[in-house]
């Protein structure tokens, strides 16, 4: 008689070869394109197809490309501003939705989800029409010239922050706020010392999301930016139209590195304080 072993425990599954292979394939699928992008940024070739040898030339070239640098710094400034504004707006909205019962609250909650599901192209056209209609000033000095792009980015990122923070707050024990008041703290002290620390992981996660959305947004930026404001994705698009050179790879690799570095910093901030301090 064939003797079968006991059914596998949940952790036993990772010991099966085919599951490991599946996991490996998933990672290859996810990261191979990025790895190739990074690899070919060091390729000593005018084109991006065949590996010719290692060089840092294209990093130097990208660093000397004035319009690429301008686009890059525009993107970073826009991302920073729209992230800060989105975190404040989204955090406050989440708090209001969590704390208060008011007429029209379900409508507000639904309206908050809308920018998440509306197709970006529609958002882009809508913002274009909106800015034209209200007569948003053009030709302002930098960085005010970025204001309409920042406004557009805030419009589609802060709902994400609100959703993330709202989910975080769902697990909050309101007795903590009452305990704080009971122990002598004012409303403001309670918010700063009890509620805000609880919201923090949600705010950081939401902020990261907002930053990523802003950094790589193409469609909405394309529709809202004036003729003389370039952001990194828009610039890369225009460069790629004339052939994807390793210069584009190099610039993208720098952006990836910055994003990863920011994520690591955010994760560090999010980690619970070590016990025994």
């Amino acid at each position: 008689m064939l003797r079968r072993g006991p059914p596998p425990a949940p952790l036993d599954y990772t010991r099966r070869w085919w599951l490991r292979a599946w996991l490996a394939l998933t990672f290859v699928f996810l990261y191979a394109p990025i790895a190739i992008l990074v690899l070919f940024s060091f390729n000593d070739s005018r084109r991006n197809i065949v590996w010719q040898g290692f060089t840092l030339d294209y990093y130097v070239k990208a660093a000397n490309n004035v319009s690429l640098l301008e686009a890059f710094s525009n993107s970073l400034v826009i991302a920073a501003l729209s992230t800060v504004i989105s975190v404040v707006l989204g955090g406050l909205l989440a708090l209001a939705l969590y704390r208060f019962r008011f007429p029209g609250r379900p409508a507000v909650e639904a309206a908050n989800q809308l920018p998440i599901v509306v197709p970006e192209i529609c958002m882009g056209v809508a913002l274009l029409v909106f800015f034209a209609e209200v007569g948003w000033p053009r030709g302002l000095p930098w960085p005010l010239s970025l204001s309409n792009i920042v406004a557009g980015h805030v419009a589609f990122s802060f709902p994400f922050v609100a959703v993330v923070v709202r989910a975080r707050l769902a697990g909050f024990d309101r007795a903590q706020e009452e305990a704080s008041r009971d122990l002598g703290a004012s409303e403001w002290q309670t918010f700063r010392r009890v509620t805000l620390p609880y919201m923090r992981p949600g705010l950081i996660a939401g902020g990261l999301l907002a930053m990523t959305l802003s950094l790589d947004d193409f469609v909405i930026t394309f529709f809202t930016s004036g003729p003389d404001t370039l952001t990194f994705p828009v610039k890369v698009y225009s460069m790629v139209r004339f052939g994807a050179t390793p210069e584009v790879n190099a610039a993208s690799t720098v952006l990836i590195a910055i994003t990863i570095a920011l994520t690591v910093v955010a994760m560090r901030l999010q980690a619970p304080p070590k016990a025994g301090a």
């Binding site: 009452e178 008041r181 009971d182 122990l183 004012s186 010392r193």
Partner: protein, 364 residues
């Protein structure tokens, strides 16, 4: 002259919309009392406690703490502190920071905070846990943190919302003794909300029994058990048997009543307001009589044993009287060599002493 009460609740009513959570409650709580608010869920006991803490504002009436009117004072300016049912320990702070919180927001000098925090943690036996995070503590330890955090502020009154409900049985019994010890040690008035009658009886000096927003009776545990004024109180605290009787006349604290099986007898009356009502008797005060030996002054009623529940130290014997009334009789297992409980179906008699009967308010 009696000292002035530390807490005075004057005709307090609290409505949520149309729903009256607390209705016209007046209570005095004396300094150094361990006072319990007891009642089923939804009776208004927690709302009353939250009004003492300042989280709810009375719709009518006044609340005085230490002689000062606190009715509209916000929670952070009241000389009371609370231990929450969920403990509400701050998860992002160490044990020591949790306990120091109330002192820090008050602007207590830093040099004073550390020794007071140490003393408070020592008092709840958590001296070695200062640097731990709440997630590293057990439920019982978290509760001790919540206690220390409240006591370190030296409140006039400590409020406890269902302090033992989240603990398992063994820990609950230990913590009951611990809370009583603490209360003696710190000499602070404790006001505790509970739905557990044993907890209230074993811990409190006085208990207020609440039902549907009203306080029915305020008394020492023994009085509540032996002299309940309302059928609800008798029912809620312990077990009781009841006889519907016809009241023939009242005279002071006695009443003459008539019952088809017991005949006419004179019994004690629980309170002057009791006029109509029911006769109650506790199961352990009834005697199961099989052999036929009468005890002086007893009334004997014929009955049939219906069911027996054996608990080791005692058995509950359920009997049915000729008129269909069911009674519960406690039978203590005092000898190791006993013949055991009589089987269901046995005819017997139940001995009732008139002094063990009490006429109470039939409030439904």
């Amino acid at each position: 002259m009696a000292p002035p009460p530390i807490v005075r609740i004057e005709h307090v009513t609290k409505r949520f919309g149309d729903y009256p959570a607390v209705e016209d409650v007046s209570l005095d709580i004396a300094a150094n009392e361990l006072f319990a608010l007891l009642g089923p869920s939804g009776c208004g006991k927690t709302t009353l406690l939250r009004m003492l803490a300042g989280f709810e504002r009375p719709s009518a009436g006044r609340i005085l703490i230490g002689g000062a009117d606190m009715t509209t004072v916000p929670p952070n300016r009241r000389p009371v502190n609370m231990v929450f049912q969920s403990y509400a320990v701050f998860p992002h702070m160490t044990v020591a920071d949790n306990v120091a919180y109330g002192l820090r927001v008050d602007g207590t000098p830093a040099g004073e905070i550390a020794p007071r925090v140490d003393a408070a943690l020592e008092m709840v036996r958590l001296g070695g846990y200062k640097a731990r995070m709440p997630e590293q503590l057990s439920g019982g330890q978290r509760q001790r943190v919540a206690l220390a955090r409240a006591l370190v502020k030296r409140p006039k009154v400590l409020l406890l919302d269902e302090p033992l409900s989240a603990l398992d049985r063994k820990l609950r019994e230990d913590m009951q003794l611990e809370l009583v010890r603490l209360q003696h040690e710190v000499g602070i008035t404790f006001v505790m909300v509970t739905h557990d009658q044993e907890e209230a009886l074993s811990m409190a000096n006085r208990v207020a029994v609440m039902d549907a927003g009203r306080v029915l009776q305020v008394a020492a545990p023994r009085t509540l058990y032996e002299n309940p004024t309302h059928r609800f109180v008798a029912d809620f605290i312990g077990t009781m048997n009841s006889f519907d009787v016809e009241v023939r006349g009242v005279d002071g604290d006695r009443a003459r009543v008539r019952h088809p099986l017991l005949g006419e007898l004179e019994v004690a009356r629980a309170a002057p307001h009791v006029i109509g009502g029911v006769l109650i008797v506790r199961p352990e005060k009834l005697r199961l009589d099989i052999s036929g030996a009468a005890v002086a002054g007893e009334h004997l009623i014929d009955a049939v044993i219906e069911q027996v529940a054996y608990y080791g130290d005692l058995s509950f014997v359920f009997v049915r009287l000729d008129d269909g009334t069911r009674l519960q009789v406690s039978r203590y297992n005092v000898n190791r060599v006993d013949k055991g409980d009589p089987p269901p179906g046995t005819r017997c008699r139940v001995g009732v002493h008139p002094e063990d009967l009490l006429l109470v308010d039939d409030d439904g």
